[in-house]
């Protein structure tokens, strides 16, 4: 089975039911997307497929249908941060950080579709991403800052 992740094409030999998350983590060693719940309750596994945020624990690899996958590693790297990642660093958002890959991918997707979200838009888009450490006040601030930065760019 072939798939494209962060612009690179890969060939994997797995059953079509295997969720994308586990293809990424255990077959391709792309560990930015995290396993948290396995039932789309936490959002830690969020990646983009053709630019749209999806829960990779719920997408069987057989249903990917040629969609191009972007993970947190493909959004930006430490030396070339995406505006959302930059805002996360500036607001010192993370505590344990385990949910933040998913939070950032969700936020980046939100801003792609809605460049100037209201507070209510942010809450609605981000409430599927669970943060056990409770960094929500900082996530809100970082999303707003990233929106401004992207609009100014």
């Amino acid at each position: 089975m072939r798939l494209t992740v962060n612009g690179t094409e890969h060939e994997v030999e797995v059953e079509p039911e295997m969720p994308l998350l586990w293809v990424l983590r255990d077959e391709l060693n792309i560990t930015g997307p995290k396993y948290g719940c396995g039932i789309a309750q936490c959002g830690a596994c969020t990646v983009h497929v053709d630019g749209v945020a999806v829960r990779s624990c719920q997408l069987a690899i057989g249903d990917l249908a040629g969609g191009e996958v972007t993970t947190i590693e493909g959004l930006g790297q430490p030396e070339s941060l995406h505006a959302v990642q930059q805002a996360w660093v500036e607001h010192q958002v993370a505590q344990c950080g385990y949910c933040q890959s998913g939070q950032i991918m969700q936020a980046a997707s939100l801003l792609d579709f809605n460049p100037a979200p209201t507070d209510a838009d942010i809450d609605a888009a981000m409430s599927g991403n669970l943060c056990r450490c409770g960094t929500y006040p900082r996530i809100r601030a970082a999303v707003k800052a990233a929106a401004q930065k992207l609009q100014g760019a």
Partner: protein, 747 residues
């Protein structure tokens, strides 16, 4: 092992038991530092002046041994060393190092001395020093817990930086011929009077031959460059780019993935199983028995999960009551002398005190830790060495557990501590380490990564202990005149330590923590009694431990009494509070919130609560609106006194996060047992707070306390009663049991 060691090891010195027993030890021995573990295999030309600093010709390495589960101690430790070492954080490598008793946690013993932490009298300090010495000799525990990372590190790591700096200056003096007094240090180099910079790395070889300088005076905080200033946490970029390697992300050549199914009735037996279907599933390499269950080893975590689900099991009964109602019924029946844990505090005479009575019964449920990174550990066993890649808070005990399973000497068992994706106390437990070692020991030579499914994580989360409180308050003349608080609970410390093979003599202080030591010194009549059972589900330390339920009970009862007295909830607390540092905290939270009483307009209410835990007074005000769709939590204001702030940004993050944590669980979380099994299997049933429910949270830190304190846990306890008190102010409905959503809807 010495006699004191054996005694302490068997009984674990807590409270006054050891002192009453008259254990004697040498002051000299207690003051001796442990050997520096870095010297064991230090390469030629490298220098290590103490357990926390290594310099070689290429780089400066700082050892930050406390486990980081999100609280930021990794960066705080590095900053404390770098402050005195005169090096910038982008010039160093920081490592958790390898577990060693040189990194034992001295601050943790403070709470064992039997005095409330606001008591800094000479007697209390002397006993703390004594207990610290005994524990160091008997059982030097390398532990991260009890909000002690910062207080344990504060002096010790600055001293480590200072002694390393002075030794490097001595080396520079020898090399240049310039007297030490004419040298200064900056940005990782010794600077000669003519401006020549000698990098520490260039001085390593010579410094390694010198005896380290000791007893260097620490700098005045006014001179600090890093500490006390807003920091950029060292893990922040990695955590924002998916490039941080948590334990679950560890990868090794030839590594296999394991999943387990263990009797969901905690501690129950494995009576039988049929794994024939699982055996034939894709990717399955081996199926092995472990204590109380079975593990599937496969080439992919998901395949291991799938195969584990395909095993049919015959499980034994739970060694505790099978149904939740029986747990509550049991607790309600232990408020008697036979179950008395401690009469922890008696002031005046609560029974003789006059006044109108206010009575309440309060309940705090079992709660799962459920950190977002599921429990996991990777273990490689060979015949003469074991490596473990996992995040753990009691690292050397984890090594000991694995040594016992594998038969490999503990000195050849190496725990590589990893960044932890949340703990809230769960990474103090050993089951996941034990299970990973049992699996890997049956597959010697192959690294095996055990990952709990979320369902397995919930089923085997030794939850926060269940607690019931009963209180009687008296009010007269517009004032609260008496509080009589009784708390009954499953003993968390006996349960947790029992799993480590340790016994706890005397009372479990966590059953009255946060109530007995609440410094309302102007309350003339006060009694706090706790009652203990061990007959219920196995439980563990959950962020803030006893103070969580106890502050909820105490501060809700107090709020009811203040309401009955017709007094202002904040002003009456300030009047009752005889502890100056706490008075300032309460006054400051009132200012921050522009407090003007509990009413905040039609359908709106404000509640205040105070909590004292881990030496930190915290006051929280919550404002709610009662809407047609339910209670909306709009704002929270939090003030705390930590003695000294290391990083104001991270402190604010912890205050906000701890408040969210306390509020979220109070709203909608509980673990209940049916047929001996936890009914909640994943986050849909034990959700905590989500962003749309999160209030705006403002925080202010004060620095009036006599000692520096840690802040991982203290923000949690007052948030739940502040919310309950706000709901009462808004609706007139008094909720005495968590989770609150059993009684009122939330937005």
């Amino acid at each position: 092992m010495s006699r004191v060691g054996k005694i302490a090891r068997r009984t674990f010195l807590i409270g006054s038991a050891a002192i009453a027993g008259g254990v004697a030890f040498g002051v000299y021995a207690a003051r001796q530092p442990f050997d520096n573990p870095n010297l064991d295999d230090l390469p030629e030309g490298a220098a290590s002046f103490n357990p926390w600093v290594i310099v070689d010709s290429e780089k400066v390495t700082l050892i930050a041994p406390h486990a980081d589960k999100g609280q930021g101690i990794f960066s705080a430790q590095a900053a404390l060393i770098a402050e005195e070492l005169d090096i910038e954080l982008d010039q160093v490598e920081v490592s958790f190092g390898m577990p060693d008793k040189a990194y034992y946690n001295r601050a943790l013993t403070e709470a064992m001395a039997g005095f409330p932490l606001h008591d800094t009298s000479p007697t209390a300090e002397r006993v703390r020093g004594f207990v610290g010495g005994v524990v160091k000799l008997a059982m030097p525990m390398m532990t991260t817990g009890g909000s002690t990372g910062v207080p344990d590190s504060y002096d010790k790591l600055r001293q480590a930086g200072a002694t390393a700096r002075e030794t490097l200056k001595l080396a520079a003096s020898r090399q240049s011929g310039v007297p030490v007094a004419e040298l200064r240090t900056e940005a990782g180099a010794v600077i000669l009077p003519d401006g020549t910079a000698l990098p520490y790395t260039a001085l390593a070889g010579l410094a390694a031959t010198l005896p380290p300088v000791t007893d260097v005076p620490l700098r005045d905080p006014k001179e600090w460059r890093l500490v006390g200033k807003p920091m950029n946490r060292l893990d922040m970029v990695a955590k924002s780019t998916g490039t941080l390697t948590y334990g679950i992300d560890h990868r090794a050549e030839g590594m296999l993935h394991a999943a387990i199914k263990v009797n969901p009735r905690q501690g129950g037996a494995l009576k039988g199983y049929d794994a024939s279907a699982a055996q034939a599933m894709p990717g399955v390499k081996k199926i092995v028995e472990i204590t109380g269950g079975v593990a599937v080893v496969a080439d992919n975590t998901w395949r291991a999960f799938q195969a584990a689900e395909a095993i049919a099991f015959d499980w034994g009964e739970a060694p505790y009551p099978a149904e939740q109602a029986e747990h509550w019924a049991h607790l309600s029946g232990i408020f008697d002398d036979d179950h008395l844990n401690a009469e922890a505090r008696v002031e005046g005479d609560v029974e003789a005190a006059e006044g109108e009575e206010v009575r309440g019964e309060y309940r705090s449920p079992y709660l799962a830790h459920a950190p977002l990174e599921p429990l996991n550990a990777t273990v490689l066993v060979t015949d003469d060495r074991v490596d473990i890649w996992a995040g753990h808070q009691i690292q050397m005990f984890a090594e000991q557990v694995v040594s016992e399973i594998t038969g490999v000497d503990q000195e050849n068992v190496h725990l590589h501590n990893m960044f932890i994706g949340g703990s809230f106390g769960h990474r103090l437990e050993f089951d996941f380490i034990r299970q990973a070692a049992e699996i890997a020991n049956q597959m010697r030579g192959t690294p095996v990564q055990l990952t709990y499914s979320r369902e397995e994580d919930f089923a085997h989360d030794f939850p926060r202990h269940i607690t019931m409180g009963r209180g009687v308050a008296k009010v007269k003349g517009g004032r609260v005149t008496a509080l009589d608080v009784q708390i009954a609970g499953q003993s968390v410390m006996r349960s947790q330590m029992g799993r480590m093979g340790l016994s706890l003599p005397g009372p479990d202080t966590q059953l009255h923590e946060g109530a007995w030591d609440a410094p309302y010194f102007n309350l003339p009549n006060l009694r706090v009694r706790s009652y203990r059972t061990e007959a219920l589900a196995p439980v563990s330390s959950w962020r803030a431990v006893g103070a969580g339920p106890n502050v909820f009970i105490y501060e809700t009862l107090l709020d009811e009494a203040i309401h009955a007295a017709g007094a202002d909830p904040l002003e009456e607390r300030i009047r009752l509070m005889g502890h100056d540092v706490s008075v300032k905290v309460l006054e400051a939270v009132g200012e921050l919130a522009s407090w003007n009483g509990p009413s905040a307009g039609p359908g709106r209410g404000r509640g205040v609560a105070y909590g004292f835990s881990f030496g930190v007074p915290v006051a929280t005000i919550v404002e709610v609106a009662a809407t047609d769709a339910g209670i909306r939590i709009e704002k929270a204001w939090v003030v705390a006194d930590v003695g000294k702030v290391i990083d104001p940004v991270n402190l604010e993050n912890l205050a906000q996060g701890g408040t969210v944590f306390g509020l979220g669980h109070a709203i909608n979380c509980e673990i209940t047992y049916a047929d001996g099994m936890a009914e909640q299997t994943n986050y849909h049933a034990h959700e905590g707070m989500r962003m749309y429910q999160c209030p705006e949270i403002r925080f202010k830190a004060l620095e009036n306390g006599a000692k520096i304190r840690g802040f991982g846990e203290p923000p949690v306890p007052p948030s739940a009663p502040a919310l309950g008190n706000a709901i009462f102010a808004a609706t007139g409905q008094r909720i005495r049991e968590m989770p609150f959503n059993k009684f009122i809807d939330f937005l």
